[in-house]
Symmetry: C2
Subunit: 338 residues, 2 copies
């Protein structure tokens, strides 16, 4: 059955894709088998990660991005370019050539579990004329690191299904989102004026993961202040002449303003990072491997080494301070490896 | 040396506490040894976890909380109580009796690493007359789950040092913050009007961890709307008659309004949760144990099972699609356990 599902995925069948992502989201063992079956057919899609500030602009930005990615375009230059780099970009023609897009909308705080939620259906209607667009929401299972892994696996499914571009959209910029966005080939951090982002924009975690900054709702008061805040922080880094300096693209997703510039900036980053993309994907593979090994070892420990209820008894002894967690961990390791 | 440090911590020496937290933050092996040495002397402090929205109200709320916790008080009832529960609370006298407070201010996105940052010194001046107040910032090391573990260990140090109350303050409500706040005996989620919290407040992750909601800057426009949004969401849950229904406390930290009510609400939660606190601490212990075991197994694998550079070679083969991560993980496990 899994073999058939894998075949159907490779043929690009949307129902098979949806079914596969459900298996992955449920952390079903057949989900892992499926990833093993399709893995050799992945690595071709370009992964675009986009963070979305809580409560900011819904998914309008990504919807606009899909629309703009799908048509050949030139910058309308209707927006005054903020930096010299952006002016230069406007003259470059987009390099994306593709036929289909997959979108995974991740909300680590959403109570919706699995399946296409109402929002997906509404969004798919927007792109109804585009048979190549597949949109799917994923929610957290409360499992440590589980969401980043599930997102990565879902991206593999879309990749194997022949999607040329996979957009991973996630809410917020906590550790979870950083992990998710790190799985992408390009990481786009979206900020919105007047939401405290001026402060948050200066924090290290975000500065480190962003390849491109988007200041959305750029027609709002405080947009220039937010751009300046990001600029001043970028100024603290000494970027080499060959090094990518994250540009700031101003957008108004509701009107589409700035979206062509964003598409061009993504294309420019892709061209610039051709040499480093392999390294980035390697880092991603290592992270993934480490996480899987840890998880499987814990499963082994509970199933094959410890008696039923033994882990609970050890936990009790830690809770009552009879043993400390470090000593308990060492003892468990000793037993598993003897 | 560690033994001496442990002795000095048990004697409540602030310099020893600071040194110990630095060791823990650096993920130094002696930090683990230290926790083992003091662990038997922990479990007495009451842990209060407080989330702080990004860019919202700095640490004023926690500073006010410290001040109010330290003085015997009654509700001034200057604030119109929002719910019947709150009116009832106002008549209850606080049950906290203690002599010293420790504060760990966690900022997962902060670039500041270790040591008392300027902010700590400024905050400590505010509480200068209170010899019993110890404040310390902690920043992320970028290590998966590392910050939650380090925060938990730092709380153990303050606990062993005789702090009766340990406040763990963290920015945001991502997975990292959820993990951090879960290590506390009471989890307080702070929301602020006009920051998109109206939307975020309705998301499951937050609803699940909050024992008490604080709507800070309650004098701002939109405060009532935010309270209503949380209320409507709470209404979706069918709380049993004996079950704790998270109250919403409105505060204006800058003026101190609502802080006495917050202290009383914390006291009321503590009294209510006496029966379940042990279970909560057990869950915390299990989480901690699992994380430690996983980490140590990976260390063992790299040091004792794999040849130098072998992990990198396996990662390369995953990156080039020669092997899938699930098969690679299984093979690594087989070799480690043979």
């Amino acid at each position: 059955m899994t073999a058939t599902l894998a075949e159907r995925i490779l043929a690009g069948d949307p129902r098979a894709i949806a079914r596969a992502i459900s298996l992955i989201e449920d952390e079903d063992a057949s989900g892992a088998d499926l990833v093993r079956a399709i893995f050799g057919h992945t690595g071709r899609a370009y992964l675009i990660g986009v963070t979305r500030p809580p409560g900011a602009g819904k998914s309008t930005l990504v919807d606009r991005l899909i629309t703009n990615l799908k048509k050949p375009q030139r910058s309308q230059s209707s927006q005054r370019s903020e930096t010299k780099e952006l002016s230069a970009v406007s003259a470059v023609s987009p390099v994306f050539s593709f036929s289909s897009i997959g979108v995974i909308a991740v909300d680590p705080t959403s109570p919706f579990s699995g399946g296409a939620v109402l929002g997906d259906r509404l969004r798919m209607q927007t792109h109804a004329s585009d048979a190549g667009v597949f949109i799917r929401s994923m929610a957290t299972r409360g499992h440590l690191g589980g969401l980043a892994r599930a997102t990565g696996d879902a991206a593999l499914v879309l990749d194997a299904a022949g999607k040329d571009i996979v957009i991973i959209e996630t809410v917020g910029v906590g550790q979870d989102e950083v992990d998710i966005i790190r799985t992408a080939d390009v990481s786009i951090v979206t900020l919105v004026p007047g939401t405290g982002d001026e402060v948050q924009a200066l924090k290290a975690g975000i500065m480190e993961i962003a390849d491109i900054f988007v200041v959305n709702k750029a027609d709002r008061e405080g947009a220039e202040r937010l751009v300046s805040a990001v600029e001043s922080n970028l100024a603290l880094h000494a970027y080499g002449t060959e090094e990518w300096r994250p540009p700031i693209v101003k957008t108004v997703a509701t009107t589409g303003q700035g979206i062509p510039e964003l598409v061009e900036t993504i294309a420019r980053f892709r061209a610039h990072s051709q040499g480093t993309q392999a390294l980035r994907r390697k880092t991603r593979s290592e992270y993934r491997l480490r996480e899987l090994v840890s998880q499987r070892f814990m499963d082994h420990l509970e199933r094959n080494v410890l008696a039923k209820g033994e882990l609970a008894a050890i936990v009790d002894r830690i809770a009552t301070r009879e043993v400390d967690p470090y000593s308990a961990a060492n003892e468990l390791l000793r037993r598993a490896l003897k």
